[in-house]
Amino acid sequence: MIRLNGIARTFLVGGEEVHALRDVDLEITHGEYLSIMGPSGSGKSTLLNIVGLLDRPDAGSYELDGRKVTALNDDELARVRREKIGFVFQFFHLVPRLTAVQNIELPMVLAGIDPAERRRRLDRLLAEYGLEARAGHRPDQLSGGQCQRVAIARAMSMGPTVILADEPTGNLDRHTGQEVLSVLERVHQNGGTVIIVTHDPEIGARSHRRLRMLDGAIVGDERG
């Protein structure tokens, strides 16, 4: 369902070209649990952003659920992103003035889903991610682990094709990291596709498919 062919992404930094991705081919099927590892600056985030339609490749083609998305304009991309992609970030990126439940609701609000349906989904999400008692709290009243659970619930609210998590445990202590990871694994167990960028070899070991990146290229792809 995700098919990348010859994807390249080059940045200009101070007049010099930085090849963040060079000629990447990648196929990911539905329901995979995949980790991406590699040294800092090897292009992991760039790859994730392109898969998440936040960034456009300079070359290559990208097919998502059978649809060529490289040709779409920004607003079309936004709509596809809304329907099919769920992001989880290292720094949570919750809106500080909104409560947990309002943060979770945000993608559905942007999609114009009617309030009754939103309510229904919110109840389910709050229960699923153990956030019922925290629904009315603002991010500054939540622990890091709770924040990340809110972020995962938000990512799941539109029933996406794939969850993209960029170092989701990078900002959490070990114990909380484990807890968040198990939440993401539950998404996978429920049939979701999960892609995690991580530095933690232990997390890598738990995933079912491991990509290794180096200098903008995929240098390893092992399963099992």
Binding site: S45, N49, G52, L54, D55, D74, D75, A78, R79, R81, R82, E83, I85, F87, F89, F91, H93, V95, R97, L98, L106, P107, V109, L110, A111, G112, D114, R154, M158
Partner: protein
Amino acid sequence: MRVADVLQFAWQVLRGSVSRTLLILLAMGIGVAAVVVVTALGEGARLYVANQFGSLGSNLIIVLPGRSETAGAMPGVLIGKTPRDMTLEDALALKRSHAIRRFAPLIVGAGDVRAGGRSRETPVLGSTADLMDIRHMEVAQGSFLPRVDPRHSQPVCVVGAKVANELFGSRSALGEWVRIGDRRFRVIGILSAQGQSLGFNTDEIVIVPLAAAQALFNTEALFRILVEAKSREQISAAQSDVEDIMRLRHEGERDVTVITQDAVLATFDRILRALTLTVASIAAISLAVAGILIMNVMLIAVTQRRREIGLLKALGATGPQIRLLFFTEAMLLALGGAAAGLAVGQLGSNVAVQMYPTIPFQAPWWALIAAPAIAMFTAVLFTLAPARRAAQLDPVQALSRR
């Protein structure tokens, strides 16, 4: 996005930064209130002048000695020669015109009016019986000046309500004698309280027959001739009749000024309208300043809320949605500011009315519409750039810590 959600989102943003919101509301409010108050003052002055002229009399033509170069306006200072006096005979000659219903020659002086032990200095008007109808005066007690040959003096007078009260207290003034200068007059009428009317407070005057005033002030020269045309349509005919008759009597010389109430009123009206518009535009500049403030605050917001905007995009917000959110925020600010400004402006107008009850201070309808409209317009205009910038923000950059 649903309208209710857009509004709620913008509302939460505004509530999230109270001081910023209050600052903009204040700026917007001051701008709108300034426009409302300023136009209320201007319009009040204009209506006041119009009312004053209305109370002066209808279809009124005023003849005054001296030639003014600017017809229609107040007589200017004469260059060089002193004008020939206007006399009672000049006034009586106006009877020849068919466009004139009636006229009243007028002499004005100040006189020391005494009755019993009391005395006071008041303006003394010398005129004829027709003055009452021309100036729309009303007599509360007794009668106005008798309808007799104006060349003959009679020792009678009509006094204003306040004068009567001051000289005679609660006693009835009617039939009493007063002294003006070295002459005695019998009070035959008391004017109803009418108040101020363009320079003269009819409550504080004494009116005597024209011939009596001529003797009292030792002059033949008339201060004015008040002329009432037969109808509104006849005003210009009456005006040219007056000019012709006067020229004929003054050896072909045009040495009187004939002004019509309409012309004077129109001039005042023009001046006051222009003045109101000018000060209103100056006040409107403060709205533009508020608009620039909104722009700055919004630009800062785009920078401060970079991550939030990036996040919204990552969650699937389109460019138009981001713009809509910013515009809604600006519109809410403008609406709030306009509402507050209108309220404060109306309050200011009411206070002005309390202080000067005779002047109808009320912002004209166009200002009540234009001020909020300009507020909205500037808010939207000055949000264009920030909203555009926000919509174009690269989400990857916005979300990264760099």
